[in-house]
């Protein structure tokens, strides 16, 4: 029998990515989102003893994360906000509703990545490896920036459609 602490660590680890995605939906820049995520993690740890095992860990952490997003937005100057408060609220509530669905999509992503053409896979790996941006990849491989952007868009679109297909295929066995 795991101790509550071990149980908590397990949950904490399991839901890391999903909390990150939840934050990212409201602050769509991975670097900023990671920063907020770190701060949320500190709070989540700190409040470890307030969590009741058996209740919804994800919902609980997302609440904390949500609060950190708001704090981050307050720190930022208002005119630097990309999206309005209303937008952030709406997206956050939808993200929680769709959490399971999104998680399911993630599992199909692995299959879809394996179906990419070699050069497409390589490009998408380069783009995301250690937080590179499309711009730095373009410099790295010496292709025009915009053509790299274009390729990345195309590949992400291919992946999105592939995931949709996988979901549909599963729905109609």
């Amino acid at each position: 029998m795991a101790t509550p602490r071990e149980e908590f660590i397990k949950l904490f680890t399991r839901y890391q990515r999903r909390v990150f995605l939840f934050i990212l939906s409201q602050v769509p820049n991975p670097v900023d989102a990671e920063e907020i995520h770190q701060e949320a993690n500190v709070i989540i740890w700190r409040k470890f003893d307030r969590f009741e095992l058996g209740t919804n860990f994800l919902a609980w952490s997302c609440q904390i994360a949500n609060y950190e997003v708001l704090k981050y937005r307050e720190r930022q100057r208002r005119d630097r906000h990309r999206f309005s408060d209303e937008f952030v609220r709406q997206v956050a509530s939808d993200a929680i509703e769709q959490a399971d669905e999104l998680e399911q999509r993630r599992q199909h992503l692995a299959v879809c990545l394996s179906k990419l053409r070699d050069d497409d896979l390589e490009l998408i790996q380069q783009r995301y490896a250690s937080g590179e941006s499309g711009k730095s990849v373009a410099e790295l491989i010496g292709r025009p920036i915009n053509s790299v952007y274009q390729s990345l868009s195309r590949i992400r679109r291919t992946l999105l459609e592939c995931i949709n297909r996988q979901i549909r295929a599963q729905a109609t066995p």
Binding site: L21, Q90, Q98, R105, D118, Q125, I141, P144, L152, L160
Partner: protein
């Protein structure tokens, strides 16, 4: 077409920009508006962001959790530069002209032309930062040809290589005046862009142009110049009516200075009888091949197609009839399509139906699941089930065959590679049908394919038509459009396919849209600025120029007749012209007896063909001085000898001779003083010389190329 599908595209584009951290304020506001306004948009937003975030997360952490095989594959493969070999360029598409035409003494017509590398390259000044992002405003009410043109202008300093087509006076000077380019710049990029209504010619063409231009900008290339009038006219004639324009049509077009003449010629040719004839030829070759088969009544099939194209019947109707056809092949021409593909069992019929009409290659899923796409063995056999009860039988006491269908329980059995027997029930793309008691299962399939629920029918036709006109499809090969082979311009393909459906599968409209795009009006000559745009080397097409195509045998034959008027000597009526054409082309067609009825039309410049063209009876007739032939007319025309040379060139190549050609000809032929030439027809060595000139033009690679 639904409004939300357009918004869907717009939102996707914004999300792509967002993920590369390039979203500006105006775009952010628009994205917010879309997302807040619609639940589906929110869903898409979250799906996209979560895809982006997952890629980021997994890549950063090396995919620690739930690492399946696919995951490992992603992490394991090493990073290598992919684009280093961009330098492999091949200047394939340059049409060799000029003095090369005068290979009179020795030359063989060869395809592709053995032009020296870069001989046709235009040197373009690279320093032209003129307005790269001002989106163009298009007048909403204007249905006539409007080109949205947000691309940088072509610079002024163009150094033309000697002897190129544009250096001839008429073609060159009218080219610039000829093309309408209303280009109204918006004062700043945040101004509202007025869009023409969806579904209008201007709206569709504008969208396509804008997407292609942005592709050129993204790849930092400049599109080729607008095609000269000569080049454009030759292309549009060959593409729409299947033969070159006659000399007098070329002259009329060159003389016409009105900007709308290009759009008008598209409309005129689409209403020409030869549009019907050419479309019939193209599709009967695709449907049953060129080779003769016992079971196929080609005349009846052609009659069916001719009537379909003459009435411009909706494409889904035509396909539905071909797929569901029953009866005698001399009475119902549509039956001949499937009759041509029943030589084994239902398999080839299934394969060609999926390939031609749905752009889907299923033949290898007969025995195993497709290694690269989502096609399953089960889906293949589910499709085959519709054809299982289809039979071909000779009708006693006649040469006719009958195509029949009877009811079928709708379940196909197959073995997988482990030898396990499975059953697949009839269905298409996940939609199943109960075939119990259905008299003609193929009618059910036709309904599924053409009822508007399967987007593949429209997409396959759009891709094929685009490729036929621009020289390359959005996918390569054009009939393999599965998810493993994503299109080069998904949004253009989507939009055209949606509009095609919305227009009621109007085939002529589809051709009209594509022919009015900016890309279709460009020259096929590549420049130093777009030499990377060369799909022949396996890169994705950018359509910054038109890619040349070799003529088909039918185009070649019909064009030879137009150029030489040889048919006026040998045959007077259309039927005998068609019979002559079939006889002539049979020399070029070799059929491979495979399941898929492959055949090769070797018109790629082999020695036999070259000899055939140079010395065959057709060319002999064409160069004879018999009354009725074009050559006879030229020899006897009142005019200078130089005029005679010009008329020969005009008739063969749709342009005036270049100065280099003229110079070479002047040195070879005993041209007479004008006054004398006007009085007496050419004869003796001069007539023979003119024959050589005409022969050389007809046997040039320029002649057998669709520019």
């Amino acid at each position: 077409m639904s409004v939300s599908s357009i918004q869907h595209d717009e939102l996707l584009q914004l999300l792509e920009v967002l993920c590369e951290d390039r979203l500006d304020r105006r775009q952010a506001a628009r994205l917010e508006e879309l997302v807040l306004g619609d639940q589906d948009a929110r869903k898409l937003y979250l799906e996209y962001i979560s895809l982006h975030g997952t890629l980021y997360w997994d890549a950063a952490r090396g995919g620690v959790e739930e690492s399946g095989e696919a995951r490992d594959a992603v992490v394991a493969s090493p990073v290598t530069a992919t684009s280093a070999d961009r330098s492999r360029r091949r200047a394939t598409a340059i049409v060799a002209t000029a003095a090369a035409v005068l290979l009179a003494a020795v030359g063989l017509a060869m395809w592709p032309p053995a032009a020296p590398q870069g001989s046709g390259i235009v040197n373009v000044d690279p320093d032209n930062p003129d307005g790269p992002d001002g989106p163009a405003v298009v007048d909403a009410g204007n249905e006539s040809k409007v080109l949205v043109d947000p691309a940088p202008r072509q610079p002024a300093s163009i150094v033309a290589a000697p002897g190129r087509q544009s250096s001839n006076k008429v073609g060159g000077s009218t080219a610039k005046a000829a093309v309408p380019q209303p280009r109204i710049k918006t004062p700043n990029s945040s101004a509202t862009v007025i869009r023409p209504p969806a579904g209008s010619l201007a709206g569709i063409v504008g969208f396509v142009d804008e997407r292609l231009v942005s592709g050129w900008q993204n790849n930092e290339i400049a599109a080729s110049e607008i095609a000269s009038d000569s080049e454009y006219l030759r292309r549009i004639y060959l593409d729409i009516v299947g033969h070159i324009p006659a000399a007098k049509e070329v002259i009329a077009f060159l003389k016409d200075r009105r900007p709308e003449k290009r759009a008008e010629v598209v409309d005129r040719l689409l209403d020409d009888d030869d549009y019907i004839r050419h479309s019939t030829t193209v599709w009967s070759n695709l449907l049953v091949g060129r080779a003769t088969r016992r079971e196929v009544n080609r005349r009846a099939l052609e009659k069916f197609l001719r009537q379909s194209f003459a009435r411009n019947r909706p494409w889904n109707e035509v396909v539905g009839e071909l797929v569901a056809a029953r009866g005698r092949n001399d009475e119902n021409g549509a039956t001949n399509f499937l009759l041509a593909h029943l030589n084994n069992d239902a398999t080839p019929a299934t394969a060609i139906t999926a390939r031609l009409f749905l752009g889907t290659q299923v033949q290898c899923t007969q025995c195993h699941n497709h290694p690269f796409n989502d096609s399953r063995q089960e889906q293949f056999h589910g499709l085959t089930a519709f054809f299982k009860s289809t039979r071909s039988e000779a009708v006693r006491g006649s040469e006719a065959f009958e195509l029949s269908s009877e009811s079928f329980d709708g379940v196909a059995y197959y073995e997988d590679r482990q030898g396990v027997l499975h059953m697949a029930s009839a269905g298409l793309a996940g939609r199943r049908v109960d075939l119990k008691g259905v008299k003609n299962p193929r009618a059910e399939l036709a309904r599924l394919m053409t009822g508007g629920n399967d987007p593949r029918l429209a997409r396959a036709m759009v891709n094929r038509t685009w490729a036929r006109l621009l020289g390359h499809g959005f996918t390569s090969p054009i009939d393999d459009m599965g998810s493993h082979n994503p299109p080069s311009h998904p949004e253009v393909l989507d939009r055209l396919a949606r509009e095609f459906v919305a227009s009621g599968f109007d085939v002529k409209q589809l051709v009209r849209w594509i022919c009015n795009t900016r890309a279709y009006g460009l020259t096929s000559r590549m420049t130093a600025e777009n030499s990377v745009d060369d799909p022949a080397t396996g890169t994705e097409p950018l359509f910054s120029r038109v890619y040349t195509k070799p003529m088909s045998v039918e185009q070649l034959y019909d064009s030879l007749l137009v150029a030489t008027q040889a048919d006026r000597i040998t045959a007077s009526d259309w039927e005998s012209v068609a019979a002559n054409r079939r006889r002539w082309q049979s020399q070029f067609v070799y059929s491979f007896e495979t399941d898929e009825n492959d055949e090769a039309v070797n018109f790629d410049g082999t020695i036999t063909q070259a000899m055939m063209m140079m010395n065959g009876p057709l060319i002999r007739e064409a160069l004879s001085q018999q009354p009725g032939s074009y050559f006879h007319q030229v020899v006897h025309a009142r005019g200078s000898d130089i005029d005679r040379v010009k008329r020969l060139c005009l008739s063969a190549l749709g342009r005036f001779p270049s100065s280099a050609e003229m110079k070479a000809i002047g040195e070879m032929l005993p041209l007479r003083p004008t006054a004398q030439a006007r009085q007496t027809p050419a004869s003796g060595p001069l007539a023979e010389g003119l024959q050589d000139v005409f022969w050389a033009y007809l046997n040039s690679s320029e002649f057998i190329t669709v520019p």
